[in-house]
Symmetry: C2
Subunit: 190 residues, 2 copies
């Protein structure tokens, strides 16, 4: 890809993320984005049909990056899927988040987080589906499979959201444990 295109695209994404962390999506104008990105109006529309498409492509770039890296990461990540503990993939994701890869945290905290949590959850569902055998062992037999997958994804996303909203004081290991306790909740004293 042309160096210029890449630079422009990156500048627009950065400007957009900056703005998203400060104000609501609906109140951001194309004018603001191009001013902050310092690109011409025509350039913006050469890259993105509308503001909505910009958001869509941002989400896809952010999440596909993380999830693809985990799936096809070859050397670096392969061990996760060879490991028996189903928790490790989640722990790994949490560690990714803690490192704040690609500044994704701002987007998950900000006023617009529903937009991003949806993408997060959808990607997670795909990942879990591919890893299904590991998780279906834990499924209460009365539950439909799609219900269970949805439940696991939603619980993980909510765990992350809770973590971020409460200042990320806990370690990834602790959150991973909370998540597993929520999924497989069993009263110890009984």
């Amino acid at each position: 890809m042309d160096r210029r295109q890449k630079k422009t695209r990156e500048a627009i994404f950065n400007a957009f993320c900056d703005l998203l962390s400060k104000k609501h999506y609906n109140q951001i104008t194309v004018g603001e984005i191009i001013e902050r990105a310092d690109v011409g109006r025509a350039t913006f529309y050469a890259h993105f049909e509308t503001k909505d498409f910009l958001l869509k492509e941002l989400c896809e770039e952010l999440f596909c990056h993380i999830f693809d890296a985990m799936e096809e990461g070859g050397e670096r990540h392969k061990h996760i899927f060879e490991c028996n503990a189903p928790s490790s993939v989640f722990l790994h994701l949490l560690q990714h988040l803690q490192r704040n890869d690609r500044n994704i945290l701002h987007l998950l905290i900000c006023e617009n987080n529903e937009l991003f949590l949806k993408y997060f959850k959808d990607n997670l569902k795909l990942l879990i589906q591919k890893q299904l055998p590991r998780f279906s062992e834990k499924k209460p037999s009365a539950l439909p499979e799609s219900f269970w997958i949805n439940h696991i994804s939603a619980t993980f996303v909510e765990s992350v959201r809770w973590w971020i909203e409460n200042g990320m004081k806990e370690s990834p290991e602790t959150i991973s444990e909370y998540f597993l306790l929520a999924i497989i909740s069993r009263k110890e004293s009984q």
Copy 2:
């Protein structure tokens, strides 16, 4: 409240809901709303500062209606909170939804459902907090209370979302059971 005001307000809400079930929030204009509601432009702005405020007030009206009715419903609903089974309040909510009180289902299905699910969950959290003793019994002791409350609310909302998205083929009783199984998941065969 003046009869005229109430009529106008209702007409705007109805028009807005109609539109929300057909297109995305961002793409709905005030012009469309007032045309469908058949009220003057100035009238709209006399009632709502902006389209965002309209959305906010709609959400509050819809959910406060349901949840207030459950809390302060006196005769009709009081038995729920005197009943020991913590599941009954959820079952009751599901029955409300199945009856599609105030056409809330369209809004939970539609393209904009994140907007409404957030309000749904927030109200649910308040309700659960007031009913906490019932639910904290089930909490694994290692989990923080706020984590647990969030988990229960989110799981219920996700159960409902799953139900609606899959065509609401199951009975409220079945969904209530799924929800409880997810929360207190225990493998029977063990």
